[in-house]
Symmetry: C2
Subunit: 454 residues, 2 copies
């Protein structure tokens, strides 16, 4: 018998999908593809509202729109969670030039989110290129002092998952100004976070520390980053001038938007699906994360329209301020704790409106065999596999309340081509790919509502 | 023991990938992503050569380019297979108007491939809209005679696989002019074969039968197809005028391009990977099927560069004339038979340069369990599963020689948005997605070379 144990351990792999479940998910698919609103909702959010950075009038408009739309759906409850959020504004269109002798070469830049501005007339200094913090830290302070540090480490090409390339390089953006200022630099240029070679600068949040001078930071397009490296390589001394008038204003009141279908059997066990309603200001926040918002809204809506009565409580949550503060996610978890709510599982959609691929869980890989039948049930809609890469930004703070975090991971090869750029617009989202995401998320809500976590 | 049989039957599922195999495939991946040429080859094919319909100077240029490039790679043999192909030319830009009373509404059309032209001054008649051949056949001949038949059956939305939607509707394009002419119609309009709602007409081959009058056929964009249906619904009698000067010229000599790495152990067992070098004239043939051509070339090239010595004979084949005649595929199979060649397996890539998804075999579904370790080995590069949907157009004629046909199926949700249109251009192909396809195909060549079919 002992020898058979490894074989018997495989038995859950055999678990066939329940026909009732596959038929319900098929109904969700038919409903979304025949009369679903994911795509038209996204069009509204992108074209009638547009980029909606925390604290902006557009963010406020998005909150009111989502609240009103969800109200119309007749869910058990729809409410707003007040939260104070940072209010950063970009100001004038940013400008930059590289200067070599008498030659001026225009560079395509944009300010990093949360960055301070330059002096009104711009900032000019010699550029110092480095690839890593280690390289910068090893330099004598007098080599860095008074200069503009150019962090130029590119996305590695040979990674399977683009998010890993991002993880490998994004500290240049998020911590670059702190590291550079510690060495006496007066400004920072960061190579845009993307595999693409083009003229789009990619914004994104940067951070400061109170004890360290706040120096302005901007992102430079990959084409111009390559150009600047070349100029430095060929000429030695290259000066850069750049100007940005961005600034941080006082915090303002904003909201998370929550819609709920109450559970009939275990109402105290909450299953959440959500994305973030705020977006960067330079594009329309289509893939990041308008897609996740309309998918979350419509995942719940499909179940309501289907007449499904959930066993556990289901919530769609549109978080505010993921991009430059995470105040909405923190507030949500704070309120959950204060209200003694038990979130069994939370699904976050913040990786674009592309075809579904992977669903990650904060569970050990060897426990995922128990979900083979769910995997199989969702495979026709694009789910390749469940894996142990769970997590998420807005849902992150729920983790220490015992919540299993579920990351929804659509195919991510193109995401960073448009991430945080002016090119993140409605037209870049494919209707059917977006809809498949809605169906998968709706299916996950249904399965978690019916069966909980195993 | 009897009860254990179903469990023991699962044992192949456990087959772990051979570490030597996964390490070789990982090397192919690193090689393609660090220094691979798939993307630059595609740029050349699209931008320096462009659309390359059989018989055109561009098709000839593409043959010469591919032959020269493969020659440089130092494969064991590179050769051309002469084949006579049809030579259809589009002529002037097509024009069409719907006429309601004194109103003229411009319609976006293009001639169907192989279609005859209209009279020099165009063709005008009342339009008769039908959704199916059954509907058309049920009409009395006098209702159809002298009219332009408008086939308007749309892609169904609620299909999982877009190729099924195409299969469900494409007879309107391929057989519409025959069906309509049999009822005495004088021209045909066909709703474009796509889920997308836009202004692009989608060309594609149509057919005639010698005994039936050849009447001109054109595709109309989906937006204008909807508009035309609306006009007919609102007004009853709508006339359409259209003009196209396309025509079929005499057949011309062209070529398939073949590159070969000879097998060291079983040289008489051939494994083929291929796509079609010809494309429609209106775009650049980027996804259809420039992608498949450069992936096939580079799948073989990566193995050569890796220093791999194949056990079985490997061939990359670029077929001519898939789009409007299939003469290249037929010639290839004819020569294979004449030369007593044994093709163990043939892989066809003709579904776009998107992320890998499925690999289909002309094998029974229940025999695919034997390949679980290959599936697992290719999963990191995007392969969701192997299935029984094997087949292909150019490799099709090999089937009755006992060859297993393998269809390479990248994610297909966007393919028909640009299929056979002016929008099928290089810029629509994502570099990394294209490269993953090359890696998967190269990996498949390697596995089939090492292990044959199980």
């Amino acid at each position: 018998m002992k020898k058979l144990l490894p074989i018997l351990a495989l038995l859950p792999l055999l678990a066939a999908s329940n026909p009732k479940d596959s038929s319900l998910v098929r109904n969700l698919f038919e409903r979304e593809f025949n009369q679903g609103r994911s795509y038209s909702d996204l069009r509204y959010l992108c074209k009638q509202i547009g980029g909606r950075l925390s604290g902006s009038p557009q963010a406020e408009k998005a909150v009111q729109w989502a609240f009103a739309e969800l109200k119309k759906d007749g869910f058990d409850s729809v409410w707003l969670q007040p939260v104070m959020v940072p209010h950063w504004v970009r100001g004038d269109k940013e400008k930059a030039y590289a200067k070599v002798g008498k030659k001026q070469i225009e560079l395509s830049i944009c300010a990093l989110g949360n960055s301070v501005g330059t002096p009104e007339k711009g900032l000019e200094a010699e550029v110092l290129e480095v690839k890593t913090f280690e390289e910068l830290r090893a330099l004598p302070t007098e080599k860095v002092k008074g200069k503009i540090v150019f962090f130029s480490r590119p996305f590695p090409n040979n990674v399977l998952i683009c998010g890993q390339a991002y993880g490998n390089t994004v500290n240049q953006r998020s911590q670059g100004p702190i590291e550079a200022a510690q060495k006496g630099a007066i400004g920072v240029l960061v190579r845009s976070m993307t595999h693409a070679l083009d003229d789009e600068p990619h914004t994104g949040a940067t951070n400061y520390r109170d004890s360290i001078p706040k120096i302005p930071g901007c992102a430079i397009s990959t084409v111009d980053a390559d150009e600047l490296s070349k100029l430095i390589h060929e000429n030695g001394c290259v000066r850069v001038w750049f100007r940005q008038t961005c600034k941080m204003l006082d915090d303002v009141l904003s909201y998370n938007v929550v819609a709920e279908m109450r559970g009939s059997e275990n109402p105290n066990e909450i299953i959440l699906v959500g994305g973030h309603l705020d977006s960067w200001d330079n594009g329309e926040g289509a893939h990041d994360d308008g897609a996740g918002c309309v998918q979350s809204m419509n995942a719940l809506r499909l179940l309501k329209q289907e007449g499904y009565k959930p066993k556990r409580t289901l919530r769609a949550v549109l978080f505010m301020n993921e991009e430059n503060g995470l105040k909405g996610g923190l507030k949500y978890a704070e309120l959950a704790k204060a209200n003694n709510e038990k979130h069994l599982a939370a699904i976050e959609t913040d990786a674009g409106g592309f075809m579904p691929r992977h669903i990650g869980f904060t569970l050990p890989q060897d426990s995922l065999g128990k979900y083979k039948d769910w995997e199989k049930l969702l495979a026709p809609y694009g789910v390749q596999n469940f894996d142990a890469n769970g997590g998420g930004a807005d849902i992150g703070p729920l983790r220490n309340q015992g919540t299993v975090l579920i990351g929804y991971h659509p195919d991510g090869q193109k995401y960073f081509d448009i991430h945080h750029t002016a090119a993140d617009i409605f037209e870049k989202v494919n209707k059917r790919e977006l809809q498949f995401g809605t169906v998968v998320l709706s299916g996950m809500l249904y399965l978690l509502s019916e069966y909980g976590l195993r």
